[in-house]
């Protein structure tokens, strides 16, 4: 029995709830790095996946508000995370027709390439807001961890997508 049969109505909200849990897990004091806590927005992988495969269940409005919530919890300028969440959604959704036919590895490489550009932009944007050149290493570590965790989270999203049995 799929989740669709068990909880027919709430399944629409499940991707958003999963994304919310990823946001909350990324702010709790748990570190992937032995020296310092690095904020790793794993939710970006969830957004990337659903923007390609199910943009109707995790739509741009939800993504925007998830970004706003992240900004509130992280105490960074309002709209900063929202901007990058929507940007990832927008780009992934724009290249949907191309990305839909890709293999698992292809999706992973595309995410790595997309995140490289987004992370660089994120760094420059943060420097612009703060008015000084910020330390680059947290951004590099953030990028590496995101790319490393990508296959695991994409596999989880694939499983969820099948279990939820959404219709295109």
């Amino acid at each position: 029995m799929t989740i669709q049969q068990k909880i027919p109505f709430f399944r629409v909200f499940i991707p958003a709830i999963i994304a919310l849990l990823f946001i909350l897990f990324s702010v709790i004091p748990f570190s992937f790095s032995p020296t310092t806590k690095i904020y790793v927005p794993l939710v970006l992988i969830v957004i990337y996946y659903f923007a390609i495969f199910r943009p109707s269940v995790l739509n741009v409005i939800t993504v925007f508000f998830l970004g706003i919530l992240t900004d509130l919890l992280l105490s960074v300028p309002f709209g900063l995370n929202a901007f990058f969440f929507v940007l990832i959604f927008f780009i992934a959704n724009l290249g949907r027709s191309f990305l839909l036919d890709m293999s698992f590895n292809g999706l992973w490489i595309s995410f790595a390439a997309l995140m490289f550009a987004v992370d660089l932009l994120w760094y420059l944007f943060s420097c612009l807001i703060s008015g000084e050149w910020l330390f680059l290493s947290p951004f590099i570590l953030q990028y590496i961890l995101l790319v490393l965790f990508c296959p695991l989270i994409i596999s989880f999203c694939c499983w969820l997508n099948i279990k939820l049995g959404y219709k295109s």
């Binding site: 925007f64 300028p77 910020l134």
Partner: protein, 284 residues
Amino acid sequence: MENKFFRLKRIKAQVKQFAPVLFLIAALALTGIGVSNNPVLIRVRTAATDAFVPILSVLYTPVRWVKDIGNSVTEIFSIRSENERLKEENASLRLLQNKVYQLSSDNQKLSQLLNYKPDGEKHFVTARIVADNGGSFSKSVLVQAGTVDGISKGDLALTELGVLGRVIEVGSLASRVLLITDYTSRIPVKVGEDGVLAILSGDNSVLLKLIAVPEGAQINVGDLVMTSGHSGVYPAGLSLGTVVSMEGSNIYVQPFSERDKAEFVRLVDFGLDGLLPDSRCREE
């Protein structure tokens, strides 16, 4: 009728297509407002953190269990060497203890001679860190104590090793502590035995930087860095770290308190009035 239906459908499709662009613009506009630290946004932020702190606390529980198990396993493997180290430390602490007794007795006698009145007891609250923004952009943590516990803006967050930061936002259940490593953190300090006055600045890395050091000042690696008390935000004499490296004009300080080793912080109200009220900050 049919034309109208198709026109509406086309408009709807166009709006749907451009919605991400509209939200991107909205997010950019919000960032512009957010940078200005609008009081309404601060209130929204404290309300949101108050609402999410109980959830974060629950989510943190399994993580804490995993952490505890990991620590226990590590401790088992290092118990022998740790025991040796503690024995050595104990021996040197005994020597220090004798010195402290002697100094304490001298201090008491001198205080009586001068009729010195010591500062009263400080109000403090011990609170758990429930969220860490791990900021590539900023460095702050969320602690589970707020106005209901008597926390107010400007209270200092201390660990057993030294100063971790200060409270910058207070909700009813949670407060946000800006770490001394944050790029906006500036603390007036005294360095070394000569008490060279300087400013200790964060740059989001694990090390701190000394700025505004007077020309020709004698600073050496290993010098102790303490608060000077000049800002009226930090009291004088709190230990912050030691000078670890000097590269040209850049002097780096290793802070004593490390965020990753702290699970609890002590929020202390030193009763200082150096912080400007929010209303005046906005005016200026």
